[in-house]
């Protein structure tokens, strides 16, 4: 059984490779977009703009309180329903994952901004700095360091979450794995290999994030 399993995988290696690239592409794109969304939403919430705050709280409740899978289906099948042909599986997945992970990332940023002691802003004001400059030169730089470890963690989660796109038909590594299983490969081995690939990527990075967090705690005493 084993011999066959590895042979079939080897035979389908091109498919797997394409799947891996697709996963990487989706991950890379959504890391960028969700960070942008998360930053903007997090900052907006931190700034406590009245009407926007309510809207954003609804956004957060919606995207953190419902499964990502349903969100993917809503966007993809919903786009088909609305006859938006340009929404491919990739685009639908990217939109859903961006909004989903963006919601969590926004909380990371918001906590990061809030972790800058209010005395900092007060000092900036007494020095005459405008709100814009206060944010740009005082709040943001201090936030960056503190926000990195949890942000890192969110990215690792995001990478794992991209596999959900396979359920709606995106040809990521899991989907391609299922393809070679259909051609006779042993599913236990295939899924194990896929899991191992994720592990090999995520585990070292998670250790890095942990080390980073410890360094920051040592330097500043607290993390967002």
């Amino acid at each position: 059984m084993n011999g066959n399993a590895w042979e079939a995988i080897w035979a389908g290696r091109e498919l797997l490779w394409n799947g891996l690239l697709a996963t990487l592409a989706l991950s890379a794109v959504t890391i960028i977009t969700s960070t942008v969304v998360g930053f903007l939403v997090g900052f907006a919430r931190y700034s406590r703009i009245p009407v926007l705050d309510v809207v954003l709280r609804v956004y957060l409740e919606l995207f953190r309180g419902t499964p990502l899978l349903i969100q993917l289906m809503f966007v993809y099948f919903g786009a088909a329903y609305l006859r938006l042909d340009w929404v491919s599986v990739f685009i639908a997945s990217a939109i859903a994952i961006t909004l989903y992970q963006g919601a969590y990332i926004s909380e990371v940023f918001r906590a990061g901004f809030a972790s800058v002691p209010p005395g900092q802003r007060e000092a900036a004001r007494t020095l005459g700095l405008s709100r814009f400059h206060t944010n740009k030169d005082v709040v943001f730089p201090q936030t960056t360091l503190v926000v990195l470890p949890p942000l890192f963690g969110q990215y690792l989660t995001l990478i794992k979450n991209t596999v959900l796109a396979s359920v709606i038909g995106f040809s990521d590594i899991v989907r391609q794995g299922q393809a070679i299983i259909e051609r006779g490969a042993n599913s236990f081995v295939v899924y194990l290999v896929i899991a191992a690939l994720f592990f090999a990527f995520n585990y070292p990075l998670s250790l890095l994030a942990g080390a980073l967090e410890r360094r920051i705690i040592r330097k500043r005493g607290v993390v967002a």
Partner: protein, 251 residues
């Protein structure tokens, strides 16, 4: 709105979601306690096994774990019904997160409490059950409830192995009525209601079960924010370290 004719499907799906999540979570709690104790053990072999368990489950996607338990085991001769495979997969996965939460909770009781117990002559076991455990339980309660909520959302993945829970029900209704936006929006609403009910139930339970509801660092005051239990300080044992946070998973 045709799809409302299929409300029964939604309800039975939601019921499956609830009971499978509960059973899986119970499994997760048992595993979580065992692994937490293993990781705090003096024996290196136990600590190592515990660490491997946690790291492997944290760093691989839940969906793949589910597929391994269902398709993978089937292909090597162990054919589990989809629901069973799904429950086991979700439970094993939850166990990894719960292990860390419990471990952090046990460690959150200040050493000074242990010293005080010692000076009163309490034996280690007595100290554990009368001083450490009560305080640790209060600390871990919010993150554990949050983890249950996460699991309910993660159970949506069981639809990928043809379990008829809520998401699966939504797909079936969509296939029957093609009122896509309404159907999935309704499903989302259903999940929101489910998770918020769990939050509420947990808050009420905490108010009555934990007197006076304090653990050394954390006051329990739950507010329904984003359908997660958040206590006033924003701190929760086990959920604060970015590694634990980052090991969030598709829900």
């Amino acid at each position: 709105m045709n799809f409302l004719n299929y409300i029964e499907l939604f309800i039975s799906g939601a019921w499956v979601t609830l009971w499978t999540s509960t059973v899986a979570f119970a499994l997760g709690l048992v595993l979580g306690v065992l692994v937490a104790l293993a990781r705090r053990s003096r024996l290196l072999i136990l600590r190592t096994i515990g660490s491997i368990y946690v790291e492997v489950l944290w760093n691989t996607p839940v969906l793949v774990q589910i597929f391994i338990f269902y398709f993978g085991l089937a292909s090597i001769g162990i054919r589990l019904p989809a629901i069973v495979a799904g429950i086991i997969a979700l439970g094993v996965n939850a166990g990894a997160y719960l292990a860390e939460i419990i471990r952090a909770g046990l460690g959150s009781v200040p050493r000074s409490q242990l010293e005080a117990a010692r000076t009163l002559g309490l034996a280690p076991a007595q100290t554990f059950f009368n001083v450490v455990l009560p305080q640790a339980i209060r600390t871990v309660f919010p993150p554990i409830v949050n983890r249950f909520i996460d699991l309910i959302l993660a159970s949506s993945l069981l639809s990928a192995i043809a379990v008829n829970e809520l998401t699966g029900a939504a797909r079936r209704v969509n296939a029957a009525t093609y009122e896509t936006l309404a159907v999935f929006a309704f499903a989302m609403l259903f999940y929101l209601v489910l998770t918020n009910l769990v939050s509420l139930a947990a808050s009420v339970f905490a108010r009555y079960a934990f007197k006076p509801a304090i653990a050394a660092p954390v006051w329990f005051r739950f507010r329904l924010r984003g359908s997660r239990l958040v206590d006033q300080t924003g701190l929760s044992a086990g959920a604060k370290s970015p590694r634990a946070q980052s090991k969030g998973d598709s829900r």
